[in-house]
């Protein structure tokens, strides 16, 4: 099998063995686990017929849920971009007691099961919780409102930006900054004109990852959201509700819309990123 592949010209010849076997395992697993099931989703959504698809897609409840999931994810990813950049900067540039511990703690949202994060956040931000009770006198409600959704989405996306930006900042500790300062640029100007531009592609990647994660997030959100239809109901929850009502087509249509929307957005940002990289002369 490998020999035939080598001569057919779609791969460069190699003395190493196992190409057919390893690619075969990969493609089989990928198809059975990911591609065929995802294809079934699209087929199911399409089988609903144009008028029904349109009705589901434009129903106020669907639109409200999609709006909350996507705008919420954009907002949370933006917050993560700002604080993630500051965090990465502090972790790379400064030395302070407990720095390594803080560095390790950043990954907590990756390791902590989402349901655990969900009930913990709900308990903290509930009106009688640790933070909720502090905010209550000011009439600020976080739990069981769209604000609660944001809190959960910020939590879940926190590590992405830090982990993307950190290695780039580590490499950037160069003499260019010094040169800029010697040439008379102020510190702020140096940061915005010299330090940050090379970090931008990594920052964008982190933003996209945080966004992609937040759009589909379910476990950490549903406990704190309150799940009021049209107000604090996220799109993944609406899919679960449709499934529980045995409305398979409805669930499939909303899921397909979510996937297409987020893939389009991710593709868009990747294009911007490719352009930024070219502009910076990076490969």
């Amino acid at each position: 099998m490998a020999g035939r592949a080598a001569t057919s010209g779609w791969r460069q010849p190699s003395v190493l063995p196992g190409f057919g076997l390893s690619l075969g395992i990969t493609l089989t697993a990928l198809s059975l686990i990911v591609l065929i099931p995802l294809a079934a989703l699209f087929v199911k959504a399409a089988s609903a017929g144009p008028s029904e698809i349109w009705a589901i897609a434009t129903s106020p409840r669907t639109l409200a849920a999609l709006r909350l999931s996507f705008l919420g994810a954009l907002f949370a990813a933006s917050v993560n971009a700002v604080f993630g950049l500051i965090l990465a900067w502090v972790l790379v540039r400064y030395r302070f007691p407990g720095r390594r511990l803080v560095d390790a703690a950043v990954d907590l949202p990756f390791a902590l099961p989402t349901a655990v994060a969900g009930i913990a956040l709900a308990a903290i931000y509930a009106p009688n919780g640790w933070i909720g009770s502090l905010l209550a006198p000011f009439d600020i409600k976080v739990a069981y409102t769209p604000l609660g959704v944001m809190v959960a989405l910020i939590f879940i996306g926190l590590p992405f930006v830090v982990r993307m930006v950190q290695p780039v900042l580590e490499e950037a500790q160069g003499d260019i900054e010094e040169a800029a300062a010697l040439l008379g640029a102020s510190r702020l100007r140096t940061i915005f004109r010299v330090v940050l531009p090379p970090v931008l592609p990594a920052l964008l990647s982190g933003f996209v990852l945080a966004f992609a994660r937040a759009v589909g997030e379910y476990g950490s959100v549903i406990f704190i959201a309150g799940n009021v239809p049209m107000v604090s109901e996220i799109a993944p929850l609406l899919i679960v509700i449709k499934l529980e009502q045995f409305d398979y087509a409805g669930a499939a249509v909303i899921a397909t819309m979510m996937l297409l929307l987020s893939f389009t957005l991710i593709l868009l940002v990747n294009l911007i990123q490719a352009r930024t990289r070219r502009k910076l002369g990076d490969v």
């Binding site: 791969r11 063995p17 390893s22 030395r95 390790a104 379910y218």
Partner: protein, 297 residues
């Protein structure tokens, strides 16, 4: 601000020679930025983690022990371990195969293949469960055939495993590919020339070379497998004692206002998260160079 004296005590500059560096923030700005970072982390990370353990202990030790040893909880713990014990090795084998094909060979469509392997990361966990319900559910495409042949997938163990495999599919390959690409193939080629069999080359050279990033990937894969909620929630049916995993058990208890019990079971999962983080940090500190390649992409 540009020629800071940098003698701040709370925040000292990074590199030893950086004290001479002209371009750096004033000590005040440094302290301020550190304070903002720590406050942000305390608010969003530390507080939730601490609250899990505080709430878990709210009713005392006896209630805690009862909550984690009652039959439904034990069944949930068992099921979670069983699902991870099937899903993680599966993804380990597939991840290693994918990394071998992608890192060691040049072929057309490779970039597409890498993107497709990463695809589950951009799919909502709920959708990851939904796709299997559409295929194998009672009203799914294969539902009638499965029923006729008495095979249960949805609301049973196979569905839980499939959904878990889907969401953890990219972890191992993602860590291995950059590391194997950075190492190149010269070691393997030399061994082959010297007459080693292909499997011997793999087990004696490739595997030891990448073992730490492999362990790293498996660690993350396992943490996600045991903690997955959205995908398994859709396919599980949440039958107590039968198809309830630990995260689902936490949800049921919480929704029944058995908060202390919910947090007790949650504290076990939080403990797992802490162990995962500790091992992960240890790997990064001791074998940072080996794994570095994986973190740079």
């Amino acid at each position: 601000m540009s020629d800071a004296t940098l003698q701040g005590q709370a925040a000292r500059p990074a590199a030893p020679h950086a004290e001479r560096r002209i371009g750096s923030e004033s000590p005040l700005v440094q302290v301020l930025l550190i304070a903002v970072s720590l406050a942000f982390l305390a608010l969003f990370l530390l507080l939730p983690l601490v609250s899990v353990f505080v709430e878990a202990g709210a009713r005392g030790w006896v209630a805690y022990r009862e909550a984690v040893t009652e039959p439904d909880a034990v069944a949930a713990i068992r099921l979670t371990l069983l699902v991870a014990a099937i899903a993680v090795p599966f993804n380990l084998v597939v991840g290693v195969a994918a990394a071998w094909a992608i890192a060691k060979f040049e072929f057309r469509g490779k970039n597409l293949l890498v993107s497709l392997i990463d695809l589950p990361f951009s799919v909502s966990p709920v959708i990851s469960g939904l796709v299997y319900v559409l295929l194998f559910g009672a009203q799914g495409y294969l539902g009638p055939w499965l029923k006729a042949n008495d095979i249960e997938i949805i609301f049973a163990l196979p569905g839980l495993v499939l959904a878990t495999v889907f969401v953890t599919f990219p972890f191992v390959a993602r860590e291995l590919i950059p590391h194997m690409q950075a190492l190149g193939s010269t070691d393997e080629e030399a061994a082959l020339t010297l007459g080693a069999s292909p499997w011997r080359v793999f087990f004696a050279i490739t595997l030891p070379n990448v073992k730490w990033s492999l362990f790293y990937g498996v660690l993350l894969c396992n943490a996600r497998a045991m903690g997955e909620f959205g995908a398994v929630a859709v396919v599980s049916g949440k039958i107590r004692g039968l198809t309830n995993t630990m995260p689902l058990h936490v949800e049921i208890l919480y929704n029944e206002y058995m908060s202390a019990a919910a947090f007790a079971v949650a504290s076990l999962l939080a403990g797992l998260a802490l162990v995962t983080l500790a091992l992960k940090s240890l790997l990064e500190w001791r074998y940072g160079d080996a794994i570095a390649a994986a973190r740079h992409h």
